[in-house]
Symmetry: C3
Subunit: 305 residues, 3 copies
């Protein structure tokens, strides 16, 4: 059981709650391994409302629902349906809540998740509301670190390469700032470094932060969390090209270190494929944790775990 | 059991048949409440062919199928598939009937449902064929009135605000004209009043009809069934704007009356959100009845209820 | 059980393997008939990745999965998702393999299936990779012939009307060339006759091949396998029109003969609808075999049959 009916923001995730979700996640991962699918939610229907396409999050929620034998309803071609005829989000949620027992929604509009959760009579999960929040991703990221390092405190973590605009980095750093003695090094093109506001907030929560143009992962880093640079963020194509080649993890940067490499994916150029075979490369494992973490959330919000 | 293999038109729905469907619907609503999902159709596969996007009808049929534990197959992106390569509807149905045990279809072409039902070897449900028919919507509307008022006869009903082009109003008025002593008042912009043909048909079936520019719901109305005005129906934007504000139910129009407010949704401007909290506002309840009504139809057409 | 983890090409399908798949297919067809759905794969999740729309293949795989009570995950609107952000096919497969127990993929790129199967840790089925291969279609075609004629050798078969560019004809002729004493007559517009390479390969495998401008099916043909002409293959619209009317099976061409008519569908003009009532017309039966054949493949590749 969780102390809230809906998961909207990673700020709801205290260490105690995270701990309880991780325990259920471990159990779910075991169940996938031993049984493939379990009957836990076979009396429930999950609504998947993806108003923005998102293959990764969508498929991982589908898999979570199917592994729990829940029924699924989903909007076909959500963006081109009657949802666009001017109907309010509140009205839409009042409809969908009567078709399902829990609603998972991705929506382009920041803040839409809070509105939907407030309206809904059934539990609600935010699967990403614009640039605002994506709390299930934070949980997956934190779970991956926990499985690799056995702790969420006393970590030396590198974040790159676009910390400014990454919902994933914003949420994960905030989540980890609740734990003792963490140290974050941000790297990447100068214009994509985290905002001063973000740094101040992390610092005031007790995290040591620094910005570096270059980082040596062999210098005792526990984790590197990287994402791709997006061309559309650069006015000058030549500058994008330069940064694309510069901010790129190679085998030599990692091999022999204790540093676990995470990436919310899709991976474009930020990690060379030669890295994939290193034991440090945990980004595909991280993607796979999406299923048990989301199974845990569905089950807990429905009072079944 | 129903005396026909396929539901194409609301003209198939006699009072006796409606009564039997409502009894099964009550039972399905109870089952959702007590069990969430039941095994009734777990040996069946339902095909959902939505050639026009329709989130509401689509999701409610999905929910009905999933609550009965039926399998589902559906065309991904129906309008952009091989269905458009020039294949006939008959050929398409001959294919889909071999993939499923019952077919639910929405199609833009009036009359397509009759062609499909005629071709299909498996039961067929019309989920809307252009401006022609949408019989499951009529059943949901009638069921809502029955639950609110306990009868389908001796009703004083207001219909607005576009009775001319509304498939829902055409079908529901026709269905209700089978019952004794009903009185319909149509209101809305003059150009969107029902056709003389429609009025003549209703009158010849014994319904008293009148057209009014303005209606007071406190004057003994049992039901108000309203839909939105569609901008594209007005050549003059200013005229649309004027009518949009004029034909709009406010709290004061309704509060204290016995009048149940129905709307096939989506709701745009035709009902102010301040109405939502009144006990008269049954439009979201109406949407929720889509699931048990469609469960009843699926089960009955498959000989399982 | 099959001697390979993934089905990529019809060249994997030896007579012995085909025989074992047909036996399981017969069993699956019986199970559909008697039970509707069976629990065989209810502990498995099937991923359906359709990067090209394909209603027929998609729905038939869905039906196969649902009749076996497998869970399903699928990309909503695959072509417009993050899959297009530049992520490699290998990365995509590494993600989807962690969401499912078997992957079915259709992809526009010839050769993509081999890359995906090579990457995937879970079994993989090629549901069409561009103009390259579509092995499940070949199996369905061969199964249809086997059910109609009781054999895959000693057959006199007409192929038309576009043998040059048809993935189905390429794969089926190759598959059948493994059997003794088959004779193929190709017909159609001169520019759509099979390539010399294809003819040489068939001949070197022992098939007698000939090209004919016109074919009399009453002359002892066992099977006619036809497909539609595609307008876009003709530069001159008048030439298309001429060929469209010329290469078209009529009732008189077939009635009274022993020739079974197959078509991978959709059927446009290549078979007149007056043919549909003849016992020779087996193309809809052929479409229906898609379900048990694909059930057999899913079950066998998952070690369950």
């Amino acid at each position: 059981m969780l102390p809230f009916p809906s998961l909207i923001s990673s700020t709801q995730l205290t260490p105690e709650i995270i701990d309880s979700i991780f325990k259920v996640t471990d159990d779910m991962a075991d169940q996938i391994e031993t049984s493939g699918r379990i009957e836990l939610l076979d009396d429930k229907v999950v609504a998947l409302l993806f108003f923005e396409p998102s293959s990764r999050t969508m498929m991982s929620f589908q898999s979570a629902a199917q592994r729990l034998k829940a029924g699924m309803v989903f909007a076909q071609n959500a963006s081109s349906t009657s949802f666009e005829k001017g109907e309010s989000l509140e009205d839409l949620i009042r409809m969908v809540e009567s078709y399902s027992d829990i609603i998972v929604m991705r929506h382009a509009q920041p803040g839409s998740a809070a509105i939907a959760a407030e309206t809904s009579k059934v539990p609600f999960i935010n699967a990403g509301d614009g640039g605002n929040e994506h709390p299930t991703q934070s949980l997956i990221d934190a779970y991956t670190i926990f499985k690799e390092k056995g702790r969420l405190d006393n970590l030396k973590i590198m974040f790159g390469f676009d910390s400014l605009q990454s919902r994933s980095i914003h949420s994960l750093t905030k989540l980890l700032s609740q734990y003792e003695n963490n140290h974050f090094t941000f790297t990447g093109p100068g214009e994509l470094m985290p905002s001063q506001t973000m740094l101040d907030e992390l610092t005031s929560n007790g995290v040591t932060c620094e910005l570096e143009a270059e980082v040596k992962l062999h210098d005792g880093y526990d984790v590197a969390y990287v994402n791709r640079l997006q061309q559309e963020r650069f006015e000058d194509p030549a500058l994008f090209e330069e940064n694309r080649l510069k901010y790129r993890l190679l085998k030599a940067d990692i091999e022999g270190s204790e540093c676990a490499i995470l990436d919310p994916l899709p991976r474009i150029d930020e990690i060379a494929t030669e890295v994939d075979d290193l034991p440090n490369a945990v980004y595909f494992k991280q993607a796979s944790y999406g299923v048990p973490v989301r199974m845990a959330l569905l089950a807990m919000l429905l009072g079944k775990a």
